[in-house]
Symmetry: C2
């Protein structure tokens, strides 16, 4: 079924107010959730809302908390997220990094003690909308074996890079596993094999069978040993810069995953006094790859599909899973 | 054959002086080349030196040029590499980023108009030695097809992230292709298949045959569509921040590859007044993954092998390819 953006936003807002959010915090929190479904990232919006509400109920997410500045050093600041709503904490942190970038050319906020940021691309898009290059990442609970290991000791630590453009911002939002557990479950439910090897089975053989990977707990890192290394250093940077927890200090249970560390960096493109020129350069780079597809369909840039889905969902309504929708309406 | 570090350094230094480098520039340039072989990265040290000398001879690399500051905006600066030696330009840029980070908490130098930086890990290690987190990347000539395309329109754009530790810095140095052309050639020369799919053959099928990938020109990006996106945004950031060239503006010929754009970022860990604590956190994160290997051999961190090789090469001598060694001695 499909609902309008206004319906979706309204239902989320009401639930957040009932859960104890102040009105001026409930509104942007509901908007961040609703925008995620509007843009087609259904795994990180409404479908996660019941878990989010459960974490508020159990005191793992504090509906009243706002991040506080802990240390300031020029363009680099440390903030404590105080276990507040992860999407609000992340949004506030990127907003502060953008402010810092306007003053210093670039700015960085390292955030400790926060919660799942839901869709990371939101904060990349936020920077791009402000005319800044945005770069941010989060650590996660352990859910990915390091290369050469069979135990999940790394997080899949999503990395986001966003570049403003006049004809649609480029927003890369990539976790360090080739396929998320959500994607594996979706392929399995459809009875499909993965299009590429997605992990090892319990005997240590590469496989495209989603169920075998769910069973072994050994999804592949992107780029095999390379993405394993990248996930590791992203966790190190997040913990070191924020003074917060590293992946190995986080509970390995999605319902208990709290106390994350994140980093938000913004580069102010107007630093060089030529915002128009930057946008043109960005457009030219995208044009330089678009016509070279193997099948004639055109090469896509990260974030392109999002814009198409947004247009369609605003026109036709946003798809929601009826059972989740009913559940959220009752909160 | 093996030579001592001093022999290698001496031969490189003499060649650079003859090629027109001033003594105070020839010395660090020779050191950066020699350190690369000392650390076992044989693809990016002595073996590239003849090409480097050829580019000086043909005026593509200017032995006398030093980078100049073009624009300053707080913690963010633009420098023009003036087509000087790529490794010196990169080293100077990271040194300046570290200086900026001491003043502002973090610092960024965006460098245009430079040349191949040889081993990117050098500049990560440089930051880590200075107690800073280092992050840098370069664009390259087009050598990697975007996901869904058959023409090489992206660079493999190496990304470097380094974290200082007391027990060996972590230095990740990863290009955005799963296997470099150098690696493909080495597997082919040994008559071996790749251990994992490394690209598409000319019929568009995934293959482990290195020769088939060399022929098709379709190596795999790390993480398939994900690394393709990451290579794209790294190029965009390098060109936008430096005001220099993007991959699509670079000649697709390794002997002519000049005018690159690079970004160097340093985060000063002493910002938080607890350098000792940072090192301890970094050590704990590495320890948290080490014991979890599937085969009992221990999980390695990025840069670990480098340290072992360095120790061995300093003790036993540095392996050099006799024909290249003879050639370089005659420069």
């Amino acid at each position: 079924m499909r609902v309008t953006y206004e319906e979706l936003y309204g239902v989320l807002l009401r639930a957040l107010l009932k859960a104890g959010f102040e009105p001026e915090r409930a509104a942007p929190c509901a908007r961040l959730f609703a925008d995620t479904d509007r843009d087609g990232v259904y795994t990180h919006g409404l479908s996660r809302f019941p878990r989010f509400m459960g974490m508020i109920r159990r005191g793992l997410v504090d509906a009243r908390a706002r991040p506080v500045s802990v240390l300031r050093r020029g363009a680099l600041e440390r903030w404590d997220g105080r276990r507040g709503a992860g999407n609000l904490n992340a949004h506030d942190s990127m907003a502060r990094a953008i402010e810092l970038s306007r003053e210093h050319g670039l700015g960085c906020v390292a955030l400790s003690n926060t919660n799942h940021w839901m869709r990371g691309g939101s904060y990349g898009g936020q920077a791009a909308e402000a005319g800044a290059v945005g770069l941010c990442w989060t650590n996660t609970m352990p859910n990915l074996p390091p290369w050469g290991a069979s135990e999940p000791r790394l997080g899949n630590n999503p990395l986001v890079v966003a570049v403003p453009r006049t004809r649609g911002h480029v927003v890369l939002d990539m976790a360090m596993s080739q396929f998320s557990y959500g994607a594996l479950a979706a392929y399995r439910a459809r009875g499909e094999q993965l299009p590429f090897d997605g992990g090892f089975d319990s005997e240590g053989r590469l496989t495209r069978d989603p169920a075998a990977i769910e069973e072994s707990g050994r999804p592949l890192p992107v780029g095999l040993w390379k993405g394993s290394g990248l996930a590791l250093v992203l966790d190190m940077l997040a913990a070191l810069l924020s003074g917060g927890r590293a992946t190995h200090e986080l509970p390995a249970d999605a319902d208990e995953e709290t106390g994350l560390s994140q980093v938000f960096v913004a580069f102010d493109l107007s630093s060089f006094g030529e915002a128009g020129a930057s946008a043109r350069v960005a457009d030219e780079i995208i044009e330089s790859i678009r016509q070279y597809s193997a099948d004639g369909g055109g090469v896509r840039y990260p974030g392109e599909r999002t814009l198409e889905t947004r247009r369609r969902n605003l026109e036709e309504g946003i798809p929601v899973e009826p059972s989740v929708w009913e559940q959220v309406k009752k909160f």
